[in-house]
Amino acid sequence: MNILITGTSGEPIYAQIVSQVRQLILQGELVSGTALPSIRLLAKDLQISVITTKRAYEELEREGLINSIVGKGSFVSGADQEFIREQRLRIMEHKMKEVIDESRLLRINFTEITEMMKLLYEEEKG
């Protein structure tokens, strides 16, 4: 399992771990039942604090991506790809709602939002 931490991106370290482990699960590189390194071992290997690693694992657990069993460690959960996709979709919906709320405050109508969205989407595609 490759996890690479950067100190210059401004993204909190725990969030970097969460997104990389999530990515590995989504890509099928970490399959259901795989044991993750213990919190302390990962902290040692990445030379980061134990509490940071703990926070990352708790977040992954909340998302339903891993299960932690006391005394045994943490394992990739039985969640299938479909379930994970569902989860991600819900997060995406939540973010879209935020955009809608913000647009109401700024009095931007739906057509304008889609315009903006389209522009940004094209830009990302390059």
Partner: protein, 289 residues
């Protein structure tokens, strides 16, 4: 989660310096960094924990025992690395080890050999012939070789080259793998702590500024950089410490939750490093004094 050390309302008066009402605890199973500028009281606190300085008021408990009458059994469980050399200068490492080892009930000769090898320590050299870094390594080797549950180190990384400093940090995370051992170390080289410390105790001018998980600090503190026209009397109140130049200002805000919405569209908002938190807090306290 239990505490390995608890300090309760410690007071100590010296001529030109005082520790005032210090209360904090060190958590079992974690690495705690003690930071503060020179003369803040870090070494005095460590000496109090080690029973080498007695507080005027207040109490200290270690492993749940208060001001223990059975000091030797408490010391048996502590590995101590001082910032001064407290070994006999005239002895060789080998002779010195023979003097120290019998004091510890769980002296682990095998572990000691391992560290001797790892740190490349010359057993037959006299202590006075060692460099500062080498003395520190010897002190570390002893502290790590008697099954201590609590490692207390005063400025252990001072005098160490960056290569060994990194190796030391790795040794420390190795040391706490079993969830039972705790580490307290003081330093003013905050870069060491940016990496592996779980908790940060910040002391300034004999007082506790905070005892927090390092993880929580980016949510509390924010570094703001902006043009000087932003600084009116009310805005200044946001800042714990501020540095102004002809080209603008940078300042530390200790209440990020409230400060960020105000500053985010008119200035640059960043997450400060430990060093920046320390610098601006100390600067601010001098300004207000």
């Amino acid at each position: 989660m239990s505490d390995s050390i608890q300090l309760n309302h410690l007071h100590k008066n010296y001529d030109r310096f005082a520790l005032r009402d210090l209360t904090f605890s060190i958590k079992e199973g974690y690495i705690t960094g003690l930071i503060g500028p020179n003369g803040a009281g870090k070494t005095t606190i460590i000496k109090m924990i080690m029973g080498m300085v007695h507080p005027d008021q207040g109490s200290i408990s270690i492993f749940g025992q208060e001001n223990s009458s059975d000091e030797a059994s408490v010391k048996d469980r502590i590995g101590y690395v001082s910032d001064e050399n407290f070994f006999y200068e005239q002895l060789t490492l080998k002779q010195m080890k023979k003097v120290i080892a019998p004091f510890y009930s769980r002296w682990d000769e095998e572990a000691y050999r391992k560290y001797l090898e790892l740190f490349k320590l010359p057993e037959l050299k006299k202590i006075k012939e060692l460099s500062k870094g080498m003395k520190m390594k010897f002190s570390l080797a002893v502290a790590l070789s008697h099954g201590s549950e609590l490692l207390i180190m005063d400025e252990p990384t001072a005098g160490l080259d960056p290569v060994f400093r990194r190796e030391l940090l790795e040794l420390l995370s190795e040391h706490i793998q079993d969830e039972k051992k705790s580490i307290l170390f003081s330093t003013h080289n905050t870069a060491d702590l940016d990496r592996i410390a779980d908790y940060i105790v910040f002391i300034n001018d004999g007082r506790l500024v905070f005892n927090e998980t390092k993880e929580a600090l980016p949510e509390k503190y924010m570094l703001v950089k902006g043009g000087k026209e932003l600084l009116d009397r009310d805005v200044r109140k946001w800042f714990t410490g501020i540095r102004e130049t002809a080209h603008g200002f940078e300042g530390l805000v200790a209440n990020r939750m409230e400060g960020e919405p105000y500053f985010k569209n008119i200035a640059i908002c960043e997450t400060p490093t430990l060093e920046e938190i320390m610098y601006f807090t100390v600067k601010g306290s001098v300004m207000h004094a």
